[in-house]
Amino acid sequence: MLVSALNIVINGLLLGGLYALVAMGLNLQYGVARVLNIAHGEFIMLGAFITWAMYTKFGINPLLSIVIVGPIVFIIGFIIQRTLFTSLRTSAPSQPAFEGSSMLASFGLLFIIQNVALIIWGGDMRAYSYYNFGINLGGAVFAANRLIALIFAVVIGIAFYIFLVRTRIGKAIRAAAEDPTTAGIMGVNINLVLALCFGLGAVMAGLAGVFLSMCFPIYPVMGLEYLIITLIVVVLGGLGSIPGSFIGGFILGLIGSAVSSWQPSLALAAYYFIFMLLLIIRPKGILGK
């Protein structure tokens, strides 16, 4: 009984770490740049595929490809924000109008990125084995690669939070999240900050893709599936709350793990049910303002 409870908790945390990382990225993009990025899952896919290609073609350690994936997706995200979304933002008559149009534009991005990936890599499923052996913790056994993924996700998540709270540019980002107009007046280069945020959000997704590829099979059309879970996490934690997303990821992981140990075919229904219940009871999310 105790072991199975421990199993549920550990499995929940392992899955939750990945959710948390992806959700933080999406929340950064929505919270600051106000773009509900439907193409967020595509950056996960890009991260995963670049890692897979590096590992299988050149034998590069998946963990090392963090330094390759990070800059690549950052630059892509940065450029997209500087061109597409900046142009939409300046021409939008109102905030809600921008949120609507940017969401739809990101939908277009999803199509484009996915099709390019299909052309480059084909539609086949890919997988590789990395650190796939069991680790025993108090009777509960789980895969080493997922523990690695969890540790990295948590470290990156916390490092990012410290960056937001402690550094000058981090403070500028938070100021912009609070109030873009005032931040602009106070000497923050708002366009730069937004592009930075979007790029960093993409990096979170890309890195999550790196870790994900170590544990699960990957394919070019995987993005939307992860996006849906990410959306749930973001709302669960509160739109615009970075720590909320972090915690929300773990909560959803735990819920999923608990429900699938009882009735696996209901795990996803449970996600949506809890998510919709929360929306009704507390739409601002757990840590939302």
């Binding site: 499923m125 084995s129 052996f133 069991g134 895969a143």
Partner: protein
Amino acid sequence: MRNKSIMFMVSLLLVLVLMALSLFVACPAPAKDKIVVGMSRPLSGPLAIIGDSAFRPIYETWVPMVNADGGIYMSKYGKYLPIELKIYDDKSDVGTMTRLTEKLILEDKVDFLWPACGTSFVFGQAPIANKYGYVLVTAEGGATTIKEALPSLPYLFVSLSFSDWYEVPVLAGILAEQGVKTAYVVYIADLHGIEYSGVFGIELPKKGIQIVGNVSVPPDLKDFAPVITDAMNSGADAFLCEGYPDQVLPAMGTSIALGYNPKVWLGGPGANFGFFHTAFGPAVEGVTCWAVANRKTSPAMKEMYDLLYEGKPEDVHDWWGHPLYWASLDIWKAAVEKVGSTDQDALREVLATTKLDTVLGPTWFTMFGDGGGLMAYESHTGEVGQWINGELEVVGYTGIEETLPNYKATADFVYPKPLWPAPAE
């Protein structure tokens, strides 16, 4: 300025008229110099994973091969005609697939129809093909329910193996011979999974194998640890995971990580692909799956595999579906050449009544009354495979060749499965 707005209106009108016209104008049929084959395939969307790895590499190899010999000999025209493929993208949507299928039939008036991808798509497409009297030899997709529909679908010929008709009785025979007593079943929560779960429930107890666990998982479930833990606790001899690669790969990874070593570990459809081997390396040793043939099966099979996989990574190998898809094209070509024209009714007649040579050997369809047919299980060269020394071998049980004459086991079943190797790092 008046001109500008009028110009605009006129050009807009022109565009609209042109669009309307292009709806109605059908191209006149030119003299017969090729055979046009139409397909609605999932080139984008979630099913692209299946389509791209299953039937697509087959037709992309098979058609150029046939065309290199000049094509198909059509006695009506007294010459060889090359095959031209007309492929549309149904974006993995059934509604779009049904529409594009009718476009191929009605507007493009293709000579022949080749199949859409996936069981539910076949179910959607078959009644339409039937309605217009087009023969449909399927590739991906097949299920027990098709047997109920077959009597009313005379133009449908199903070639892929599926649960009760082909695979599970053979599996049950193998397991029973080895002395398996208990089995734990995990299945994907869709048409495909429910079917296997049901057939396991019938066929395994027939051979005295008790099912001690029967769990469904939704198609997008990521975390298999709770399921594997439950299976481990059940202590079953055989672990049977029936899903797609999306389920089989994580189930395998989790089994290795948790050190779950049942005596039989089956992962169907998923473990039969090359990428399963590249993903797990030596750990695949002893894993069971559905398989039809490998290079040792016959010289014809070796030739096919060499042609199909030459210069390609191991990832794209498929020892289950590929030979059957290839055979379905072989039998289609043989039948078309026998007919010598694009007459669908004659083609149906030949397919329904004749034994024809394919890569499998003599191949024919078992007909359901006046309806359609399933590829005869006696034509199959294999049903169950096992990874042995890094190769996927076809396995069987004592006396299987007596019931299935084409069947050729290429190795003996290894029981129990060796333990997962210790971590390499």
